[in-house]
């Protein structure tokens, strides 16, 4: 480690703080200039900064379902690039949405910028973001189709591709993607916003590395990761009993209550490390309830983060004490071409319920009752337009108080689309937008009530 003497106890914290803020700044740039309501209004996006070894160093607090998927996505994209001998150069940006590489679902477009120091060929990090585009083609408007039986029906699959070279956008490639979406105008606008966001991240990394020098910067980064690991190990051994625990949950299949899909986890705490073993989870299915590994990891990281101290930062150091083993080919780690669009929004919520159920036996007095266990995806549209949103529901009762009514729970925290916005933009009229009265579970502390939305459409042709 090469710090200067007066740096030792302080520089890592300064750099951590500046990088975390840098990732938040990326979010501002992305949000302010995007077009899709998912990004601009609902903040269905994530921004992060990485070290040259693709370790996550800072991630803005946007949406938990991207927690594990962005680092996993960068890792897998770099591997893909290496396997296909695509060189990482200064001035490039890589676009990918293949969920088996980028780690969520097709609507989430991941854009990666390798960062180099000015006048040097030395890679010093990555700036990356992921944003939910309303439509990426496929058989249904808004692309997330509940009837898809393979990945191709869920929209256009983009393998990692260089869309920017020498800081110039490769328009033919972008256009070839744009025309396959239902809303090419939005696609172009959102992609420009994603580019602007990565440039902000790059600027912050370069500023810090220039100001403190590359060696000090890198030493600080590695110290930041070690520190997060240390904090998390302490948190874990304080919060979790040194014990193992098992839980089983079910997901409802498309075919209804007849077929229940089992998910199962064994959790084990030993000297500050947590091991999650998902063997016993049902095999992947040919309906879009499969969750790619990145999504499953996000659920685990989220659940652990909820139980740690507020000062524990989330970065690759945080991931180190957590071992997750998901058998290949099961619903929580499917093999390629299984449809995955609902993995983010349905399966991921049940995964949190499952993990918390397992925690109940090894964590005292902190675990809430289960929440709505879904994100209530609502999608509709036509050939020309598409609308997508998730609707909040009942939050489970807490050990010391009621759950909250009609609010976003666990893996999502996206905003609603205002009724007046919807009516301006789409041919529809909303008739009711209230809590669903008395829909909560009773008890010493009650759960939160659900929501009720009714509307009428004015166009016959619906997806």
């Amino acid at each position: 480690m090469t710090f200067e003497p007066h740096d030792v106890p302080i520089l890592p914290e300064i750099i951590r703080s500046a990088l975390t803020f840098g990732s938040e700044e990326m979010g501002i740039a992305l949000r302010n200039s995007s077009f899709s309501s998912n990004i601009k209004e609902r903040m269905d996006h994530s921004c992060a900064l990485f070290t040259d070894k693709a370790e996550l160093i800072a991630q803005a607090e946007h949406i938990p379902v991207h927690l594990g998927s962005l680092p996993q996505g960068l890792h897998d994209t770099l591997r893909y690039m290496e396997e296909n001998s695509i060189e990482l150069k200064r001035g490039t940006m890589i676009l990918v949405n293949n969920p088996y590489i980028s780690g969520t679902h097709l609507n989430d477009l991941t854009l990666i910028r390798p960062v180099f120091l000015p006048g040097s060929r030395q890679l010093i990090g990555f700036s990356a973001n992921k944003a939910h585009h309303t439509d990426v083609g496929g058989k249904s408007p808004a692309s997330l189709s509940s009837s898809a039986s393979n990945l191709d029906e869920e929209g256009l699959v983009i393998e990692p591709v260089i869309i920017m070279k020498d800081d110039h956008l490769k328009s033919p490639i972008v256009e070839s993607i744009a025309i396959k979406t239902r809303m090419p105008l939005n696609f172009r606008g959102d992609l420009s916003a994603q580019i602007a966001s990565n440039m902000v991240g790059e600027r912050r990394i370069i500023e810090l590395a220039s100001k403190y020098g590359q060696t000090r910067y890198e030493a600080a980064c590695s110290e930041i990761l070690d520190h997060a690991e240390k904090l998390l190990r302490l948190d874990i051994s304080r919060t979790f009993l040194e014990h193992s625990s098992t839980a089983t949950e079910h997901l409802e299949s498309r075919t209804g209550a007849l077929l229940k899909l089992r998910i199962r986890v064994d959790v084990d705490q030993k000297s500050g490390s947590l091991t999650f073993n998902y063997s016993g989870t049902c095999p992947q299915v040919d309906e879009p309830l499969n969750a790619v590994l990145g999504v499953t990891l996000s659920g685990v990281y989220y659940s652990v983060r909820c139980l740690t101290g507020a000062a524990t930062p989330i970065n690759s150091g945080f991931f180190r004490p957590i071992k997750v083993n998901v058998p290949k080919g099961c619903i929580l780690n499917p093999r390629k071409k299984a449809p995955v669009s609902g993995g983010n929004v349905e399966t991921s919520q049940r995964n949190v319920d499952l993990v918390f159920r397992a925690f109940k036996r090894i964590v005292r007095g902190k675990i809430p009752a289960q929440s709505q266990g879904t994100m209530n995806n609502v999608m509709f549209g036509s050939d020309q337009w598409a609308m997508y949103e998730t609707v909040g529901g009942g939050m489970g009762a807490r050990p010391t108080k009621d759950g909250i009514d009609g609010i976003q729970c666990h893996m999502t925290n996206t905003l609603n689309t205002p009724v007046e916005d919807m009516e301006l933009a789409f041919p529809l009229m909303i008739k009711e937008y209230n809590f669903r009265q008395d829909s909560f579970g009773p008890g010493k502390f009650r759960g939160g009530s659900g929501r009720l939305e009714r509307g009428r459409f004015f166009q016959k042709k619906m997806g």
């Binding site: 914290e13 300064i14 500046a18 077009f35 101290g309 009609g406 925290n413 009516e423 809590f435 009714r454």
Partner: protein
Amino acid sequence: MDGREIILKIPTVPGDPARSLIEGARSILPSSTEKKSKIDFFAHSTTIATNAILGQVGLELPKACLVATKGFRDVLEIGRQNRASLYDLNVERPKPIITRDHRYEVIERMTHNGALLEPLDEHECKRVAKKIKRSGTSLIAISFLNSYKNPLNERRAKKIISALVPRASVDCSSDVNPEYREYERTSTTVVNLVLKPILSSYIAKLDALLHRLAIVPEHYIMQSSGGLVPKKQAIKYPAKFIESGPAAGLIAATALAKDLKLSKALSLDMGGTTAKSGAIISYRPLWTTEFEVGGTAYNGRKIRGSGYPVRFQFLDLVEVSAGGGSIAWCDGAGRLHCGPVSAGAEPGPACYGKGGISPTVTDAHLVLGRIPDHLIGGSMRLDLSLARQSLTLLNNRLGNPFESVEKLAIAIIRLSNVEMSRALRIVTLDRGLDPSEFSLICFGGAGPLHACELAEELSIDSIVVPEHPGMFSTIGVQLSKVKQDYSYPVHKAVKDSDFEYFREQLLKRARKELGDISPYSQGWHLELRFQGQSFSLMVRMMKRKPSLDWIENKFLFEHKKTYGFNPPEAPVELLNIWLSLERAISKSKASVRKSRDRYYETTRNVYGLEKGFVVSRILGGLEYMSNPVEGPAVIELYDSTIFVKGGWTAQRRRKCMLLKRKKLGMRGAFA
């Protein structure tokens, strides 16, 4: 009066701010018993609205009720459906200002373009009015869907309810905040409504006390948008005073920027618990149209869903949790942090000797010799040994990584600077601006101590510290003009907008409220965006009758500048038109300034990062300073302390100190 300027700082009595204010005024006015003094200008800013929302004891919000479109009474509580904290399993939603049992529904409906789909069901409306009457509430908000496009049903409901509930205060959302998005409009209407009795009684009390004391022609209050309003108009829109205090600071900074011809300036107001920053461009402060009152801030901006949105004009201020009282602490794995928890005024920093044992930023400054061992004109002594003790304790807890308490103190200040530079970055970044092109105007009790280091952090090399930095906001109130803002929702492509018509509508509304508007100067802004975007840009209309092409081109230019790109072929939409009317108030100017500073010159050891303790010049007061002061030096004032770092030179100017950085070339910029 004799033309003297008198400045006074007194503590507020919680729960009775009106009395504190009057006591202060009384101590300034000549104590003649025969004749009442005459005050020709009286203006003040107030935090009473914010305190009431935050639930300060003695300021409970009154009960109110809401009448909504059938099927939409929960919009007020659902809000934007997000939780304010991602990982907190015990998170709470802000308590709804109107609980479900006081939210009523009536059948009525407007379409998104303002067509009447269902007229108000008057029979049902009467039934609701009777229920409200029985419930005993007299504050009634009416907020119907799409009413911003057509207020007909809301107005009809208001008529019916007012007739049946005597002495009720009934507000329509289409009058209070005629803009789209039902939750924000309803929230603005409701917050404004419940603040009415609180602000009215405060102003009435203040006015009564004031008139007992002196003869006052009019009494003005500072708005969050940075202008004054006479009291009669103030009580109609109490939610316009939520950020009254902080706005005054930015207004004062704007006036100073104008005096010094600084076309780009950043203001930084650092007090005990928070630091606030705003940007001034072409001698105008930047402003926004929404604020989350009672909310918590994260990285400078209020978290959506943590408070109650209010959509009026607000000066654009970014707030971070860094102040003189911010506590330094050690996490579980032995790393040093600073803030966001503050020791406040009680127990305060360790050196106050009021029982605080955690070291704060102020303790760090004391240990480094950057502040004197007394505060507020010598009336409060600071205990250096207590400060050192608290730092030693923290160093022990950290495992003694710092070889001296001074080194630890420097580290604490560096961390709080990182936090404050966030505030300065975010006000500029949000608009695509580069902070290094700005001058920094630093004030507040603690601001001038951090000015040099912050400027270096942001590559800024010119700093302005006003006279009386600790009471600079007050000067802003004094310098403000009377200001009224109006907006009109358009929501049309620029090329389809009948500009003259909307303009007339706004002027008509202004005339209705103010009567003759010829004494006012008019400022017009257009809120524009690309169709489909939801974040808009505010474009100032420089011409009286701009062509539609001019508007589009101006917007394209601003968008490119702010976000670095313009999407091809997207049409430009005119969202709102804003009108600001301003009128200067004639008042006598103070001819004699009398400062409360004490004058002295001495030396003290002041600690610096590179050289350790260095014998440095210590100057008391600004009055007799004529030669430039080379850093390191400390200038001690009645209400603040300026730390002039090595490499900086301070020069006395009219109304302020100007700090310039010596040119060091690139190495200096990154040192």
